[in-house]
Point group: C2
Chain length 345, copies 2
């Protein structure tokens, strides 16, 4: 599939995914109107007074992976739309809670849910979206998918939810440690990013008619794509073009974020102690960014991270080949993975 055909596929299927998500957050009971209003606000469909608006939304990457996988194994894409909606809602549930846990006040240039309505209501609104995502998955059976296949998809979905909380647990723990290793980091993003993309692809394949066991190679493909995506994000977070990423140059260095390049340099015999001292210095800020970037260079952190992205991408392609054989070369799943790898923002 060409990039153009992929873009057409995305353009065709985004509206039904949005419609499915909206129908799941439709609730006319006045007593609980504010709860659903908060969720619509988070999704970008309403302002803080719950009037309709259309704010910039996420990329809806996970639903697209799901529908592409369904199409790729010969399934009816329409059937998978509730699963696509469930994956995006679940992703958004995790964003609501992550924003509270990280104390982030802004998301997509708007105040976060907890910032507007307070932490208690935001925790509960996230829980609500979590439950609604499961309700979305159960719609698969209403749309004609067998009970067996629906349960198989639900099982992958549930294990993904558990993996997500494990990843988030590790991520929060890292904030308080200065001895995090590269393998620990990879285990963390396996939960936070790998699991969700892996499950999106596996669920799409199961809905498309593949037995749960046979979806395993596609799951590994998605997992590796998710990891590559995250490490690429780490590279862009330091060396991305501010004009493209919309973030300050060296943003993640200034935030002392324990991303892969940073951990690599912190664990490097030649640069570790000096970088740690620099980041810990009371006067560390934009004026000393170049010193930090020089240490990352000395460690070869960018080269290392980019090699990791390539390795993960190669793993993804090998798994895709395993799943699809010769068709892998022309698969839209390959096109999508390449376009994520080559992105600049």
């Amino acid at each position: 599939m060409s990039q153009i055909a992929l873009t057409r596929f995305i353009g065709e299927w985004l509206p039904p995914i949005e419609a499915e998500m909206r129908s799941l957050l439709d609730n006319n009971e006045e007593a609980v109107g504010a709860l659903y209003g908060m969720l619509r606000y988070h999704m970008g469909w309403a302002n803080t007074r719950f009037d309709a608006e259309l704010a910039p939304a996420g990329k809806r990457l996970r639903p697209i992976f799901c529908l592409l996988a369904c199409a790729e194994v010969g399934g009816t894409v329409e059937t998978a739309v509730p699963a696509a909606a469930a994956l995006e809602l679940l992703h958004n549930f995790s964003l609501i809670h992550d924003d509270i846990e990280d104390g982030d006040e802004q998301r997509r240039h708007r105040a976060t849910l907890w910032k507007v309505w307070g932490v208690p209501q935001a925790i509960n609104a996230g829980d609500s979206l979590f439950a609604i995502a499961f309700a979305a998955m159960q719609r698969l059976h209403d749309r004609g998918l067998s009970a067996e296949a629906t349960l198989a998809a639900l099982r992958v979905f549930t294990q993904m939810c558990i993996a997500l909380t494990e990843g988030q647990h590790l991520d929060m723990g890292f904030e308080e440690r200065d001895d995090v290793t590269v393998p620990e980091y990879l285990r963390m993003i396996q939960g936070k990013t790998g699991a969700l993309v892996g499950a999106s692809v596996a669920i799409g394949a199961i809905v498309g008619g593949v037995e749960a066991e046979q979806s395993e190679a596609l799951w590994r493909y998605g997992q590796a794509v998710g990891l590559a995506f995250q490490v690429q994000d780490d590279v862009l977070g330091i060396w991305g073009d501010p004009a493209q990423t919309g973030k300050a140059a060296g943003n993640d260095v200034l935030r002392r974020k324990k991303s892969l390049p940073m951990l690599y340099a912190l664990n490097h015999a030649a640069t570790g102690a000096r970088l740690a001292a620099l980041l810990a210095a009371a006067d560390f800020g934009p004026a000393r960014l170049d010193d930090a970037l020089a240490l990352l260079d000395e460690a070869g952190a960018r080269t290392y991270a980019e090699a990791q992205v390539q390795r993960l991408h190669d793993n993804a392609m090998a798994a895709l080949q395993e799943a699809l054989g010769a068709r892998a070369a022309h698969s839209p799943l390959r096109t999508l993975a390449e376009s994520l790898l080559n992105r600049t923002r």
Copy 2:
């Protein structure tokens, strides 16, 4: 079923429920050991260093309702154990998040999870338990329940989760309002307590072989028992014997808790304004408890609340009769409801 037979049933089935829950929280991966340790701490199985201990746990009421309903419709109780575990884990997830939302520092005489490990980790631990409860439900199919019936039970479970978050949303909103009405209060506890007991009974019946549609009367029975239980709790929270409840006399009045008797007196033409003024007074405390209790008496708040308990109990018995016919009179579900109604703590 007599009270003795009921006690025997509970004694027989609590250990398998506990074993099922423990197996769901078993995770040997060292990296995420602390996450599962926090959950075992919350369940009363470990101390804060994650060493095994056995702290007082909850009554496990919801699992017992589930297993009794399964037995009552002629099902194999063993099959329903994963559902019973799921209901108790889900209840505990909601306690973890409620404790954060309400700022409660103690539960069952121990520090709450957030108090020990902080709010971010506690939010995430709750999310983890939420997901694990869904994994528990999916075990029903592994134990031989058909995929169709497992999905039907999951559907009731999911709708209950959504109802719970609606109830919690209302409950938190009430804290900030001084014009909450009795119908609004009943709508709130329908979500917070009614939905969970209703679902426990309905899921037990579905696992026991009843079609989802036919479980409706049993669901209404559970819902009414849950509501009666909550209103009875409200009565005990004000007029319960401190020696029995373990709480101070007039505890809920001193906490200004918007329970049913309080709302009734606050909405009463003769007492509302005076009670509101008293509760709002800067010097309101134990010394003025008798004044508040006198106003509750004047409004007839206790008589009203006790009549509501009786009405809800009658509704429960009518629904049970509808579901079971003549067998209702000797059903353990009747025995359990009566014992909850007549409790003093």
